[in-house]
């Protein structure tokens, strides 16, 4: 970890955390490039928050190495943390203090933050998350979404090189979710690296440049979104009334197709659909040519890379079974 280190905002090697006999994070090798919006994806209970706690020095690693902003943890923790803003597993505030008093309190805890600019920075951070109108209101009167925004404002109190947001859109309405996406983009414009965890793929897909997928404490995929998409199988989708005939033609080319019943609603698309993985050695135009030559009426033909959702489901499983 020497030469490549400065380009990475977060780097872990064989990071492992066990609680008793249970391994919560297992040999994690994260590499978060500087300047990226990095999505940390995984179902509930897959070890995301535990990993984040280790990245911030809240929990110690059982084994393995962590470097954040080029500094070794936990040794360099006091020098690293002032450069990192974080929202960890939901907001935590004093209910009997106002929103701005809470931020002033947390800012005064940071010895690098200037007391002279404190009130201005707090007001600016509240403005950025749209809480100016509620700045003087006690936090116990805040809705969950407002607390979430206040938590994000806390991460923005001073200019940071790295911002860690654990499930930032929890409790936010669709409008608030859009605003968070917008905010994250504006942060990267200033060169900040943003590390966002989520169990929602759509959220990651819309705001991230890179992603890693966790499952049961293991890292199962990592890379830029494009790289991740390419790991999935490219598929063709054919709409035709001559399903049986088409199946034969496709089989001749070495494609194993599934027939999907036509959609309920009628119209032009009331034809069966055939879906088949596309092998690399077969060109898409070749298939169409063969189909037409064999008298298959082609009413629709698309080639699609697999969506991230397919990948996510393939990697982490479907449904509600919480990873053990």
């Amino acid at each position: 970890m020497t030469a490549a280190a400065p380009e990475l905002a977060i780097e872990t090697r064989q990071l492992t955390k066990t609680f008793g006999r249970q391994t919560v994070v297992n040999n994690l090798d994260l590499a978060v490039p500087r300047g990226s919006v990095f999505g940390f994806l995984g179902p509930n209970g897959s070890g995301k928050t535990t990993t984040i706690r280790m990245l911030l020095g809240l929990a110690s690693a059982t084994s393995g190495e962590v470097r954040v902003l080029g500094q070794e943890l936990p040794q360099q923790l006091p020098g690293v943390l002032p450069r990192v803003g974080a929202l960890i597993e939901g907001p935590g505030f004093y209910p009997f203090l106002s929103g701005s008093a809470n931020l002033i309190r947390l800012d005064s805890a940071d010895r690098f933050a200037s007391p002279a600019t404190r009130r201005k920075r707090v007001a600016d951070a509240l403005e950025r998350v749209g809480l100016t109108h509620a700045a003087g209101k006690k936090v116990k009167a805040y809705s969950l979404g407002m607390k979430q925004r206040l938590g994000i404002a806390n991460a923005l109190l001073t200019p940071r090189e790295l911002i860690v947001l654990d499930e930032p859109t929890n409790g936010l309405d669709p409008q608030g979710t859009r605003e968070v996406r917008h905010l994250v983009r504006s942060l990267t414009d200033q060169g900040t690296t943003v590390f966002v965890s989520s169990h929602l793929l759509a959220e990651i897909e819309q705001m991230c440049t890179h992603a890693a997928v966790m499952r049961a404490g293991n890292l199962v995929a990592q890379g830029s979104l494009d790289e991740l998409r390419q790991t999935g199988q490219t598929r063709i989708r054919l709409v035709t009334p001559d399903a049986q005939l088409a199946l034969g033609v496709l089989a001749g080319l070495g494609l194993a197709a599934d027939v999907e019943a036509p959609p309920e609603r009628g119209g032009a698309s009331a034809d069966p659909q055939l879906i088949a993985p596309l092998p690399e050695e077969v060109a898409a135009e070749q298939i169409v040519e063969a189909l037409v030559a064999n008298g298959v009426r082609v009413r629709g033909f698309t080639v699609a890379g697999s969506t991230l959702e397919d990948l996510f489901v393939a990697l982490t499983g479907e449904g509600f079974d919480v990873a053990q």
Partner: protein
Amino acid sequence: MSPSNSGVASVASGAAAAAARPRAGWSFLASELVLLFRRRRTWVLLATLAAIPVLVAVAVRLSTARAPGSGRGPAFLDQITQNGLFVSVVALTICVPLFLPLAVGVVAGDTIAGEAGAGTLRYLLVAPVGRIRLLLVKFAAAIAFCLAATVVITAAGALIGAALFPVGPVVLLSGDTIGVPDSIVRALLIAGYVTVSLAGLTAIGLFVSTLTDAPVGAMAATVVVSIVAQVLDSLPQLDWLHPYLFTHYWLGFADLLRQPVEFSSFSSNALLQLAYVLIFGSLAIGRFTSKDILS
């Protein structure tokens, strides 16, 4: 959430700021004190403590109207009628065994566990506040509360005493008589003595508070410890143990009412409390610095 750049300098200047020398961090201690003394709970505790000398003074005033002092009740109770300034001393004597440990238990037990329970501990630590620094600031604030509590009792006692009884020269335990200004100095010395007496319990509360995320549990445990220590202190079979109990000198402030002032129990008490602070402070640091913060 407007993504405007207003008020946000570039990341480069953030890095420069981080490279700068950190401040001494007094503003965090100030923030801690403001937080503690702005809480309604703190005010309720202090008001309750202030009510005790008032109750004592009123009760004595009403009963002496009918019968003169009988010699029963807490030490110095009879002196109240001759000199109202003694209300402070009587009130402290009443508060030291239970009411003050209760109040201190609430504040000291809440130090770390309260932050953990509210979910604010993780944000303080990544702000960042070093863990040892957090313990020191929490301990200092809790000691400030001990001082405030004893001063409140002393002041409330002096005020109500002056209102209901004559104020004049005070006859000390040694038989000497001192004037009003000197007796105020003695009252403040006693408040100082009681504050020092509570330092050991505060350190114990701080340590207990690092063991749990449930503040109420830490508060209760701290109060129970103080009661157990007093019970042990009252068992003659455990004579050998008594000088090591942090409650042993709690009521020793009577020595400050002699002429000349007898400081030996003050210094024994201070040494004992210092030992407790060092031991339980170290335990708290050892525990807290190695703990995974999962709250």
